[in-house]
Symmetry: C2
Subunit: 446 residues, 2 copies
């Protein structure tokens, strides 16, 4: 083996830490590159060399973005885990990742993973196992790619109370929405362009359907509120139904549409304190800091009681950026092993139940196509009043429906409970004078 | 005393940690409020109650944003330090802050400070003392107010190499430049407005002269490159010379002017590797993430080899936001005391010498008022060529000088060494055909 970490003088200095890498794909190959090329700097920071002992893959002969010493590739992931001081899991998927991580943690070996799907489904079980054996389970790369968000939320804000987190957590959908906004493209064309440029996968379902963002919403909520949440706690709506007409209406009103992963403290109608987790296309005022996050970039916007409004911005994906986040976790864990001392204790678990998304408080933009006759405005306004939803603006607008007889109305509400907003829209659709509910979009950041 | 932290059941649970607060002003009174009002949440997170044992002030009867139990205020700061487990220094200034912090660290007591002026001048001495005695010296609030930047730079990016940090690190100057940009105001009017609204102090010298930003540049560089830097290493230029005409030229070329604190790795002409630290008004393209940071907000833009471009955004000052950052440090230190284990070791000191700012590589926008005669363009372009500076754009523009005979030229260079750019401008000023060098501004983020 030609791992440069082994070139460190063997007589002096502490023994090398054995690092097992599970996965040598987009992110794994970059982690292998950094472990190899930056071995000297890493040794200085850790206080001991990091020795890459092997890379578990499906096929030893596959193409790699970066190639390590061929002798390092192996298909025996279990043997690799068993000999390691630190395990990096970058395989993706549920199995065998879950079983391999359990195997490491059970032996007291700390694990770094970028696997958001696994954490959003089985995180609680894995964290429980880690705290039993005193191993660490670190996952910065699973939250927002390269954006350092784990330590800010967990440590920097540990003397404050986070009330809400809103993230642009999926680069594919952000790229598509961006194209729809700047070029007036419709969804299908923007998706096709994203696929052509490599920003969207051949099967884009998890991205455009909002599932990837939902996994991140669950992890962000867990980090922010200290209680365990899973994918099942997240109300998910993707971007497939967004039309060029929605975009035009948003632009005309001074907004931009972003797919947001939102986790916030809320109080249910019955008084229960809890958290609401949701992913949906959202109107943001053009001057909101999240509104100018373009293309494949991600950002996380945090509101805390004392700190106020913070934002963290950076590449949400990509081999080298994601590997940077992985390596930050590796160095932290390696430093702790070298220095000794107790593992980071799990923060005591808070009890903040997930509430139904109908309990969320949000505002809404509704575009209606209505009959052009006396009394329509009054009847529409009455429906909002009956449901206890107050209006911020109501104005007649131009729309594509202008050709049809009738008029278009654009209404923006004040904050109200989601349940009441939904009931209002149902009642509007049932009005005779309303020909069509053209667009209903949630608004945040006003 | 009525500190709620003491209401914790005394029989069970670990003993309270005694917290001494030095300073009860803008930030100190908010730290006292959080320690009092959020005592229960803090106890849960730390694993032991935090007991506020006293607040050292100059005058016990002074007005406070938030008032603690009157019995807590004291003018005997030394006695307070001597009985403490944790000391929070929020007095500001060099003395007595420096002596009190030394007293605490010498006794092995960890200290949290928000004092950027002190750190930029005497940081090295204080950190050396801390590592001798095993005490911690934490300073998140000194870098960019409430923005979590210390842990991202120190921990999250510990597996990567930071190449450049650019910060909007002073809210007062950002507010003034913002007004000049959006309202075409000149410097004096914008400063007067900032003072009227409470964003600038009666004596604004440290802000508008760039010294506050320079202290932060030194701290950011220390965090990013692991070597100690002081205020003396920073080349400083404030915003007092910025004119409405500079702003108009910037806007016309698609830029906005921001006061940036910049720390970057550089290689000097003689081949020495080092860091350049500088603070100056800077042209940023309007679409750069830092360009939309408005008013009193701060932001830090980080470039790292693998992570790429990251940005951290939030309130750079204010009592409650700054106290949030302070309390994050308090909780981290308190957790370590409760859990036991070694203090965080000092990262080994890197050897990256501060280089003269003339070694920086940057680009430049120059506006010239020139004679309107044949051959001028050629002679101007020749000056750039002689100094090895290549031009990105050169165009004739409208300017306020239009009334005078002659023409205005706007030139933007490619990246070149600062020394060569300075020599170029001197040579341009000496040309007969150049009536006036109207504006010279550095450009970043292109
Ligand atoms: N890509 C990103 O930008 C990004 C960003 C954030 C987080 N992540 C997360 O990082 C993880 C890795 O992503 P990636 O993009 O690097 O994936 P990838 O390119 O598909 O690479 C997966 C690697 O794991 C190996 N592997 C998969 N199943 C295996 C099995 N059963 N046994 C042995 N090896 C197996 C593959 O081997 P072969 O090479 O032989 O096929 C491949 O080397 C995922 O959890 C992903 O969600 C990725
Ligand atoms: N304000 C911000 O937004 C902000 C943001 C980031 C960092 N910081 C830093 O935080 C620190 C505190 O700032 P601040 O705005 O809170 O200052 P401040 O409002 O002027 O408060 C200073 C406090 O220290 C006390 N004090 C000063 N000298 C003293 C002495 N010799 N003996 C005893 N007590 C003394 C004062 O007592 P009296 O009350 O009796 O006068 C006052 O309570 C500074 O280092 C500052 O740079 C501030």
């Amino acid at each position: 083996m030609t791992n440069p970490a082994q070139d460190a003088p063997a007589a002096s200095g502490p023994a090398a830490l054995k690092v097992a890498l599970l996965g040598g794909g987009t992110v794994g190959s970059q982690a292998a590159r950094i472990l190899t090329e930056d071995a000297e700097a890493l040794r200085d920071r850790v206080g001991a060399p990091l020795e890459l002992t092997g890379i578990a893959v499906r096929s030893r002969g596959a193409e790699r973005d970066w190639r390590a010493d061929p002798a390092l590739y192996t298909t025996d992931a279990e043997a690799l885990v068993d000999g390691a001081d630190i395990v990096i899991e970058l395989m993706g998927g549920i199995e065998p990742a879950r079983t391999l991580i359990r195997r490491a943690l059970a032996a007291g070996t700390s694990v770094i993973t970028g696997n958001k799907a696994l954490l959003a489904q089985h995180g609680e079980e894995l964290f429980a196992l880690a705290s039993e054996t005193g191993a660490q389970l670190s996952f910065e790369a699973a939250v927002a790619g390269a954006i350092p968000i784990l330590r800010p939320l967990r440590d920097s804000l540990s003397g404050d109370t986070v009330t809400r987190v809103m993230g642009i957590a999926n680069g594919t959908t952000n790229f598509i929405l961006d194209r729809m906004d700047t070029e007036g493209a419709d969804f299908a064309d923007a998706l096709a362009e994203a696929q052509r440029l490599g920003y969207a996968e051949a099967d884009p379902t998890a991205d455009v359907g909002g599932l990837d963002a939902a996994a991140k919403a669950a992890i962000l909520a867990t980090l922010s509120f200290g209680a365990p949440y899973t994918l099942d706690d997240v109300a998910v709506e993707g971007i497939t139904a967004i039309t060029a007409e929605d975009n035009a209406a948003a632009a005309d009103a001074g907004y931009v549409i972003k797919l947001l992963a939102i986790a916030e403290r809320a109080t249910a109608e019955d008084g229960t304190s809890g958290a609401v987790l949701r992913v949906h296309p959202t109107l943001l005022p053009r001057e909101h800091p999240l509104a100018s996050v373009r293309g494949a970039y991600n950002a996380v916007f945090v509101e805390a009681e004392n700190a106020g409004q913070l934002m963290f911005y950076g590449p949400g994906a990509g081999g080298a950026p994601t590997a940077s986040a992985v390596m930050g976790d590796v160095v932290s864990i390696a430093q702790r092993i070298v220095r000794g001392g107790p593992a980071r204790l799990r923060t005591p678990v808070a009890h903040l139940p997930a509430l139904d998304a109908a309990e969320a408080s949000t505002s809404c933009m509704v575009v209606l196509h209505v009959a052009d006759e006396p009394g329509v405005l009054r009847r529409v306004a009455a429906v909002f009043e009956e449901h206890g939803v107050s209006l911020e603006t109501l104005r007649q607008v131009q729309s594509d429906r202008a050709a049809a007889p009738g008029a278009s109305l654009r209404l923006i509400t004040h904050r109200a409970r989601q349940r009441d907003l939904d009931a209002t829209v149902d009642a509007l659709a049932a009005l005779d004078a309303v020909h069509e509910v053209v667009s209903v979009l949630k608004v945040e950041g006003n």
